[in-house]
């Protein structure tokens, strides 16, 4: 797929994805808002610049694998995939509806390019490790990307997987952490402290890169650097949950609820304002 390299164009794309997410969530009436909105830049960078993939050959064996461990943020992945041409955009409004391929939490059998059905937290990184081992066995050069949430670092199984990556020296594995400091019931450090994440990963022999998860330059350079490092790499992406919608930003209460019609209109207006700003940059 053709890479988008212009930062302005990437920003506009991220803005479009956010608007799609708001429409999807308003229409579905249930789901998660803060997480997907916060990840718009990460998904834009992955699908339109970083990933080796081809929507016309979704299961090409040389594609990079993207495992979404925190499956509940799937609306942003669906929006990015539709934008990239994996399925028609009009399908986005079927999110969480009976018979839709866009399940409330992602299901690989409905859309194979989702790679793996996830959303029971703490499982995606382990699956990614199995895929990274398979790539090594088959002497393939693609990368395995895992996106995980900070909240799922509460799970012991996540730490089992982190240890496995060092044992097998998986330099084809990149784990991007959505470090947005919120989880369902509150702020991460109040619910279940996970700091110091950098030191913990380093102690497990991972290379760690910390970035602003809304800055395209930082995202792209971090991943390009990670590809060259001969170790498993963890990219801790600092994210503002609910980014772009003033009343959702940094509010854990928006982890697991959706905007009503009025709130959605307000959100779209704010995003349109932001879009105009980007246009004038």
């Amino acid at each position: 797929m053709k890479k988008i390299t212009q930062i302005k164009e990437l920003k506009l794309k991220a803005n479009s994805l956010r608007q799609e997410v708001i429409k999807m969530l308003c229409h579905s009436g249930s789901g998660h808002s803060a997480g997907p909105l916060g990840l718009a830049e990460i998904f834009t960078a992955l699908y339109f610049n970083l990933l080796k993939h081809n929507p016309k050959k979704p299961l090409d064996k040389n594609r990079d694998r993207l495992i979404l461990s925190n499956g509940h943020v799937c609306p942003i992945r669906y929006a990015a995939m539709a934008e990239a041409g994996y399925f028609p955009k009009k399908e986005l409004l079927t999110l969480r509806k009976m018979g839709s391929r866009l399940q409330g939490h992602p299901h690989r059998l409905d859309i194979p390019a989702l790679e793996v059905s996830t959303a029971s937290l703490g499982q995606g990184l382990g699956v990614a490790i199995g895929m990274a081992l398979a790539a090594k066995l088959d002497k393939q050069n693609h990368k395995i990307y895992c996106l995980s949430s900070d909240g799922e670092h509460d799970e012991g199984s996540t730490w089992e997987a982190i240890n496995a990556a060092q044992k097998y020296k998986l330099d084809n594995l990149i784990n991007i952490i959505d470090r947005n400091y919120i989880q369902l019931s509150g702020n991460t450090e109040e619910i279940w402290p996970i700091e110091n994440l950098r030191k913990k990963y380093e102690a497990f022999n991972w290379a760690v890169i910390e970035i602003d998860g809304h800055d395209f330059q930082e995202i792209i350079s971090a991943v390009e650097l990670a590809k060259k490092i001969k170790q498993p790499v963890c990219i801790i992406a600092k994210i503002i949950p609910g980014k772009g919608v003033s009343f959702m930003e940094k509010q854990y209460q928006w982890h697991g609820k959706t905007p009503n019609k009025e709130q959605s209109i307000q959100a779209i207006l704010e995003l349109e304002k932001e879009r105009k700003k980007i246009d004038h940059e």
């Binding site: 299901h107 690989r108 029971s120 703490g122 382990g126 490790i129 081992l133 199984s157 997987a161 044992k167």
Partner: protein, 305 residues
């Protein structure tokens, strides 16, 4: 008398043979020798993945390997796999229809002296309600070899329920085996005894005490259940189930579900009566918890009275 051998040894032998297929990989959670995976690991070190005492991650790793077209055999004790990683089995393996073979050695009271913590008696109950899983409990060494090879051929999640102790084989190298097809071990009358695993051989001891031969069926595939066993059940209308597993949720429950719309069928299930086990020899434990010849006989008589 045939040489005594365990079902886990059958698994180890079959896994070694399956290693010729480069897609086959093996994982163990620090139980390589106990799971009989050592020979495979020595012969194919690049395709053996030691997972440490971390069963949850072993299952997700196996899922990733399976989704990349490998045929992973992940092994542990039945008390840890499936019990410790049930969520991983439900979502990562079964919801994805991943081609993972889960192998639990040391199931049932047959684990003996290790005591309650290591006697897997709830594993079938835990797994049976998960959609898309195949559950097999071979009766002996030879059947374990065939079950392992058949599992490798079958696309989709499979759970092999195996045992630590060596027992006398009652099938042979040439006995046919097909997943989902129960095996008639003894043609008989008046009562149908159905079971899985080595405990079923206890049923043959009744022949010396009864003036008729009961029908004995080895239902090695607990899920999907062979619907044809209903023919024998309807013929005799009396069923005794033998399972080295909790009475709740095992093969007996599956058979009861199968005949739930049938009138006039009487079923008794011999299994662990909602209790934890304890240390002891197999003979002591089976005697105490219902598998003595005396108790099996008593139940058969109650059924046919």
């Amino acid at each position: 008398m045939n040489e005594l051998k365990s079902t886990r040894e059958g698994y180890g032998q079959a896994l070694l043979e399956l290693g010729k297929n480069k897609k086959v990989v093996a994982l163990s959670a620090d139980l390589t020798e106990s799971n009989q995976v050592t020979k495979f690991a020595e012969r194919y070190p690049q395709r053996f993945f030691q997972c440490g005492v971390a069963e949850q991650n072993m299952i997700t790793m196996a899922t990733g390997l399976a989704l990349e077209n490998k045929i992973p055999f992940a092994s542990s004790f039945g008390v840890f796999l499936p019990m410790r990683c049930l969520d991983q089995i439900r979502i990562s393996v079964c919801y994805n229809q991943a081609n993972v073979k889960m192998v639990a050695t040391h199931c049932g009271l047959m684990t003996g002296e290790d005591g309650a913590t290591h006697q897997a008696l709830e594993d079938v109950a835990a797994l049976r309600s998960i959609p898309g899983i195949t559950i097999i409990e071979p009766i002996d060494y030879y059947q374990a070899i065939k079950a392992t090879k058949a599992a490798a051929k079958l696309k989709g999640p499979v759970y092999l329920r195996l045992h630590r102790a060596k027992t006398e084989p009652i099938t042979g190298p040439l006995t046919t085996f097909k997943i989902g097809q129960a095996q008639l071990l003894q043609k008989g009358e008046k009562v149908t005894i159905i079971g899985s695993g080595p405990v079923l051989k206890e049923a043959f001891k009744l022949n010396s005490f009864l003036n008729f031969k009961p029908e004995i069926i080895n239902c090695h595939t607990i899920k999907p259940l062979d619907q044809k066993i209903i023919k024998s059940i309807k013929k005799n209308k009396k069923v005794l189930v033998l399972q080295d597993h909790q009475k709740i949720g095992g093969l007996g429950s599956a058979i009861t579900e199968l005949v739930s719309d049938q009138n006039s069928i009487k079923i008794k299930i011999l299994g662990m009566p909602d209790k934890f086990g304890e240390s002891g020899t197999i003979e002591q434990l089976w005697n105490k918890y219902g598998f003595s010849t005396r108790n099996i006989l008593k139940n058969v008589k109650e059924l046919i009275e």
